[in-house]
Symmetry: C2
């Protein structure tokens, strides 16, 4: 298992921002991407953190990602809109689309914004959480790279499309669920591969549908949907929202290029005063926290709590990154004339 290096989050953000600026991404947009990636590392979601930087840079270098997209609103109908991501970085487009969903929710009570010709945009929790400052419930989903088969099949037709939902509360931590529709996120296989670890049975199969404990074989093979037909069904429905409805790529890759996302913001005020809603959420959270514990359990967590506590600790102590990841960042930073991560 490789050793880790502890890096201050702000230094890491500056490094990653500089790397993307070196690829002709405007600085304000590079900073959005860097913030989303480093925030994932802070929250312990290393599969969606700066480990992705080399892939993004490769896309910028080979021209498949547009460093300076023009983000047109191509459908604009009150609470509904579609943004064209112009093949730019996914986070830049997602930032625009989620802001628009929130703006429309403030105006109409609800805002539903699709995104087409987009790219990987990091952890979906990051986007759902944006709704909280506007006292909205936030939803964010994307169609992911193809890595699952339908139940009973063995062709990669669907991604393990994730869904994030964030809810306003009185707590200091953002209450947010962010779940992939596979048993585990694909990035967990990458992390296992970097760490030289085997994976447990039930996570994935090889390309022919046979069980495997090797993360590299599994990454080329098929992730297994959570709960079998339930995870498969939810993944398809999220592809319908993020891909089919938005005019983006969907299913096995038909349609115009690029992945799609779908964002929804629901204003709480109107349904009930936000203060009353937050109090009701407090009651719900208290009930969960105060549940008697199951044998062997030390504590009961509400969605988002583990990640917040991790982030608080990593803000103080730095983010532990694997050496190979740090080496990649050092090399890319040096190429770009960006601040080194260490």
């Amino acid at each position: 298992m490789p050793t880790t290096v502890s890096i201050a989050s702000e230094r890491l953000k500056d490094c990653v921002t500089g790397i993307f600026v070196g690829q002709h991404v405007p600085e304000s947009e590079a900073r959005i991407v860097a913030d989303s990636l480093v925030e994932a590392d802070l929250r312990g979601v290393s599969s969606h953190g700066v480990v992705r930087v080399p892939t993004y840079v490769a896309g910028l270098k080979n021209g498949s990602i547009n460093p300076r997209p023009r983000l047109d609103v191509v459908v604009d109908l009150g609470p509904r809109a579609i943004v064209d991501g112009d093949d730019g970085m996914g986070q830049v487009a997602a930032d625009r689309a989620m802001r628009l969903a929130i703006e429309r929710a403030r105006e109409h009570g609800i805002g539903a914004v699709g995104l087409r010709r987009s790219r990987h945009c990091g952890a979906m929790a990051y986007w759902a959480i944006q709704a909280l400052a506007a006292d909205c419930i936030g939803f964010a989903t994307t169609n992911a790279g193809l890595n699952m088969a339908p139940t009973g099949g063995r062709d990669k037709i669907i991604g393990n499309n994730p869904l994030a939902i964030a809810v306003p509360t009185n707590r200091p931590w953002p209450m947010v669920l962010d779940m992939a529709t596979s048993v585990v996120a694909g990035g967990k296989l990458d992390v296992a591969a970097i760490r030289g670890q085997k994976i447990p049975p039930g996570w994935a199969t090889d390309l022919d549908g046979n069980p495997t404990d090797d993360p590299v074989t599994a990454r080329k093979g098929l992730l297994l949907p959570v709960g079998g037909p339930k995870g498969y069904g939810l993944a398809v429905m999220l592809d319908v929202l993020a891909g089919v409805l938005t005019g983006a790529r969907f299913g096995g890759g038909l349609g115009i290029p690029g992945s799609g996302q779908f964002f929804l913001a629901i204003q709480v005020d109107g349904f009930m005063p936000i203060a009353e809603f937050r109090d009701r959420m407090d009651q719900l959270i208290d009930q969960i926290h105060q549940s008697r514990r199951a044998p062997g359990s030390e504590r009961i967590f509400v969605q988002g709590e583990i990640e917040y506590e991790m982030a608080q600790r990593r803000i103080r102590e730095g983010i532990p990154l694997e050496e190979p990841t740090v080496d990649n960042l050092r090399r890319l930073a040096s190429e770009a004339g960006a601040p080194s991560p260490t």
Copy 2:
């Protein structure tokens, strides 16, 4: 295992309608409830079918269910609304709320309608499917009776809250996902109990969190969430929508009495022409159907297909009901002066 009796669906609907009319439910509303229950039996979802009739009748008899509710729209804000179910039958209120969501989606492009002071309203697929005739994508969720603990806990704080999503296609069958957030629906334990069957490990525990294969012990105990923290998290978030946001009961039972539901309709037209959307759905469905099969798999199904084929067969051949269920219906029909099921 008890023997089954095959009953024609129309005869069953007339019987169940008559039973509720005998409890002072207006006939048009009794027919809505009967239709939702028999439709579930037709689709093979017997856990949400006429097996529920005795429980509903008991509620009407003891006064906990109001046979003649006044269904006021208590929040009315463009695309958003809340209906007060007035403690009536859940299906009667759900019918009103889903119609309103569709009406608002036609007017504003999206409609989000909450329901408070409601009751059990049958299978959620039934409500999501209502959106299809209006060329909308339909969502329906409810907070269920409390039957799960948070991950790490053993108090019943949450239900295995289900989510249904239905999508317009060119196919003759409604494409619909209807999933509970437990590994299996609670009604499956009832069905196993009636049939005298054991349940597999991983479905449920006893009240103290110990594994059990006895459906009666499990029904008093705890259902296990699908995918562990994922099912737990999704159940909580659906309770936030169906319970906290609507002003209904939520969590362990705080707030005003009655369960809550949340319905959402998204108009496809505007995002793109409905014909184009249906064509894109055709491509997605074809891709799934044409996937190479996994070893041992005979066929790959899209969401809603199995249930539709079952319904087509049962419309022709009748619905097989367990003798104890038929006996209950015979007795209740006789009491109410309703048509006998046999």
